[in-house]
Amino acid sequence: MKELLIKNGFVYDPLNKIDGETMDIAVRDGKIVEEVKKGKTIDASGMVVMPGGVDIHSHIAGAKVNSGRLLRPEDHYKDVELKTVLTRSGVGYSIPSTFTTGYRYSRMGWTTVMEPAMPPLKAKHTHEELNDTPMVDKGAYPLLGSNWFVLEYLRAKMYGECAAFVAWMMNATKGYAIKLVNPGGLEAWGFGRNVRDIDDPVPNFDITPREIIQGLCKVNQILNLPHTIHVHINNLGKPGNYVTTLETMRCVENLATDNKPIMHLTHCQFSAFAGEDWRTFKSASEEIAEYVNSHSHVTLDMGQIVFTNTTTMTADGPFQFTLYQITGNKWVNNDVETETSSGIVPFQYKRKNYVHATQWTIGLELALQIKDPWKILLTTDHPNAGPFTAYPKVITWLMSRKARDDVMKKVNKKTRRKAPLSAIDREYSLYEIAIATRAGQAKALGLESKGHLGVGADADISVYNLDPKKTNLADNPEAITKAFKKAAYTIKDGEIVVRDGEVVNSVNGRTYWVKVETQANLFEIEPELKRAFEKYYTVKYENYLVPQNFSAHQTPVTAKARIKS
């Protein structure tokens, strides 16, 4: 029996409605318990105690991330991690090596991170990397929005069969949620084309993005997956795309029941652009916020820009090609048969650039104008809008108008003049930060034992050296950044793994996947399908599957599907 007591901290546990009360948190055998008798005690007086950080969307592992690492040795040279007795060496900056990724998350007090773009054909790759990413629990979302089977089932309106296929997919790839990236557009990209909007049919497939989104949303409901569909919209990164964003949210409006979210719209900053072109480009955060404020079927995450040299990488091949055309930087494109594409382009966000500076304001405007913090989660779409190591900064911007103003002084003049952000006073409280970085994330993911400190929860806890009683945080932005950069303690499954921002114990972390309980394996009942599979792919059916214990620490979460078959 291993016990631990965290005494006298200011506890922020929004799922249990605890807002900064001074409390003790007791831990036994990796879980939060009522009380403990003996064991180690951490004196957290004058410190903030929160559930461990959760990240719903961060590109940390898999084929695309690794191509990014390979593409950019210049990203690594000056940001290195030395080997220690406890930890492996590695490199940063925007695309850290796997070990370094785990350590850096943990040092900031994060304990769960989701990789949001796994090409199913290369799922083994993603899992091999996740297995080498220590300190945090993980999961990965298979890309399904341009998969041929999915497109064909949905075109024929065979939702049950499609659900059975997706259920098989989750098991086959050890996936956690349904991911759609530029639905249908990636198939078109196979021949260098794209779709224009959600009603533009996919070439050769006679189905529209709208039908794909609605279809997979229904499938998700049938399967009862813990997370909603996770959507990267069509037209991402294009001026005027907020219209597509609104349409995308609207198109599933009437599938919603009992006010529960049924869609997660990711890195929304990149999807809230108004204007006709880059010259007339401006923020559409108000339009998006207005919609989200009056609907309850979507959750979003920010995709907040930080001004730095980073690496953009998405499954959205055509979008990445556009970025390559704009920047002339080096460019990777990698299309995956029958499923998806991907692209990578290094990118520098510059303060003095009107578009970049405006993008910086859009992310914050969304987070500050959407009233309910459960609806918009904190991310940088790592590393697309900036590396996850910038979270302390983003937290600071949300909590302190002063911090925002300090940046505003230095950004492009036109942005300063035009951006709605200048007029926004709202400042997040620590309670709201705990929602945006933990509770809301875990809730959206359906991870019931994460994101809170109630009895029975996983003992993933972070303690920050920050005293909200003594310091006025909004006036002291540096104090916020400093505290969140280096957690005083990070506790993973009841073990102290980080102390004063240094790793003191290296642990592996689990990989969650959703085991959908259906009556039978679709491919076992349909031999025809296996033949189709081997026509569609250049690998054998059996070799496609990620075996049960392919990597250590795989942990299934079960979902009970409502498929009649």
């Binding site: 690594h76 991690e81 492996r88 090596s97 299309d335 048969e337 059996e542």
Partner: protein
């Protein structure tokens, strides 16, 4: 007798995963679907003449049989005391073994480098300078209406590549060119027979007429999938191509750059580039632009000829330029079955794909400096561990000489010039036949390698051997290096 299906072939980067292997009493009696090279491997790998079956340590100049523990202990001693050891090979083993190899390299502060350093290393350097538009092989099978093999001869080096992924494969949007080919082959064979016959009669050499004249064949008018070969000599692959362009040796860079101008609709001021008439090049450029999905496959003929990675820079730049006009991809024809995996694992653990130097306690990368051949040519290393590869035969002479003059550990299932020169020889099991694991195809698709038969008792998996050495090294370190 059992039939093992869906077996992945542990030979070349084509990584065919449809082999069927018949096993009788722990020995392989038949193989289906493999090419001749693959089949030979499965049927002959047990040949004791070529197999390492004893752990050996050099004592008084002679390789002497020892226990496995002693061989491991000796290896650990060598590595723990070395100031700049090289850990080299890695492209013919599993990703699981490579993972441990990197950990070992980090522990001993050594340099870990894989065989891409002598094959497609330049391709990687090139990706690092310009990027790469590429795809998985299924995209080619389904979509490519234009396939170009440049300085690569799949017919000989990747025998099933064409049949599985390109011209002779059947895709959703592209049909197999097989029949088309058979008709053409009949014509060629007819001509060959004729010329052989006439040679016999007249007793003198009669040259076989080329299949494609330096003028486009009429088939190019049709919508069919086209196969083009560009090379310095007429290879087997060139013979089955619709069209062959012969480039002067070491002049690919010029040819590629010239094509880049042409696909931008600009003009050339010369009438010949790299021996190819400009008219012909213009037609070639037209074909490139007018396809719906084109792909370049390139081989070591491009990476290892004059210009090296700059040839690939030009080839990739051409591919990027073509994407403004149509859809185009490019892919290196990786040789060893898991050389791609060696790059991939190294990249996720260290940030860098090969030539990683841990001597300062963190990964450093600078091919030319931290690459095995260069280190050896400068004679800077003082010990080495070689796994599943034969640098004594493959490295430049002075590099090989400097390699063997320092303590060398080898882990290899087979006897090679390298294992014969080694100070420690540790026999290992064959990945993909006797041990399972993961390997990555040339297009970076991960595939499972199977264990089909039991290895000889003394032959452990590479992963296990490396782990034992690592453990020993750590023990030596903890006790302050008892030597």
């Amino acid at each position: 007798m059992t039939l093992v299906k869906n077996v992945t072939c542990p030979i070349c980067g084509t990584l065919c995963d449809d082999l069927e292997v018949e096993v009788e009493e722990n020995s392989i009696v038949d193989v289906r679907n493999a090419c001749a090279i693959g089949e030979a491997k499965f049927l002959n790998f047990t040949d004791p003449k070529h197999r390492n079956l004893k752990p050996l340590v050099r004592k008084g100049g002679e390789l002497t049989e020892v226990s496995l523990d002693e061989a491991v202990e000796r290896s650990a001693q060598i590595l723990a005391h070395a100031q700049y050891p090289i850990l080299y090979g890695w492209s013919c083993t599993s990703c699981q073994a490579i993972r441990v190899g990197i950990e070992l390299a980090e522990e001993v502060g050594g340099v870990i480098d894989n065989t891409s350093t002598v094959c497609h290393g330049p391709s990687i350097l090139s990706i690092q300078s310009v990027g790469i538009p590429t795809c998985t092989l299924g995209q080619v099978r389904h979509r490519a209406d234009l396939v170009v093999y440049w300085a690569s001869d799949p017919y000989s080096a990747h025998p099933r590549h064409i049949e599985r992924y390109t011209s002779f494969s059947d895709g959703r949007f592209q049909e197999s060119e097989w029949e088309h080919y058979v008709t053409r082959l009949r014509g060629v064979l007819g001509k060959k027979r004729l010329s052989r016959a006439s040679a016999r009669i007249s007793m003198r050499e009669v040259s076989i007429p080329p299949i494609a004249d330096p003028k486009l064949p009429p088939e190019f008018e049709t919508e069919k999938r086209k196969l083009i070969v560009v090379d310095v000599r007429k290879t087997r692959s060139a013979e089955i191509a619709d069209f062959f362009i012969q480039v002067e040796p070491n002049r690919d860079f010029e040819l590629l750059q010239a094509l880049r101008l042409l696909v931008k609709d600009e003009e050339l001021e010369v009438d010949k580039v790299a021996g190819v008439p400009v008219d012909l090049l213009e037609e070639f450029a037209d074909i490139l632009i007018s396809c719906n999905f084109g792909i370049f496959f390139f081989g070591v003929g491009l990476t290892m000829s004059s210009g090296k990675h700059r040839n690939i820079d030009a080839a990739i730049a051409l591919t990027k330029d073509l994407n403004y006009r149509t859809k185009f991809a490019i892919m290196p024809m990786r040789g060893h079955f898991n050389v791609a995996g060696a790059n991939i694992v190294s990249t996720w653990q260290t940030g860098y794909p090969f030539a990683v130097d841990f001597s300062h306690g963190y990964p450093r990368y600078n091919p030319g400096e931290t690459s095995a051949v260069d280190i050896l040519q400068r004679d800077e290393s003082d010990a080495s561990l070689i796994i599943a590869s034969d640098p004594v035969s493959n490295f430049p002479r002075n590099a090989a000489q400097n390699l063997v003059k320092n303590p060398m550990i080898t882990i290899d299932p087979v006897v090679s010039p390298t294992t014969m020169m080694a100070d420690v020889v540790i026999p290992s099991a064959f990945v993909g036949i006797e041990v399972e694991g993961t390997a990555y195809r040339m297009d970076c698709v991960p595939l499972p390698m199977k264990k089909i038969v039991e290895p000889p008792k003394i032959c452990l998996p590479d992963e296990e051997i490396l782990r034992r050495i690592l453990l020993q090294v750590r023990q030596i370190r903890q006790t302050g290096g008892k030597a």
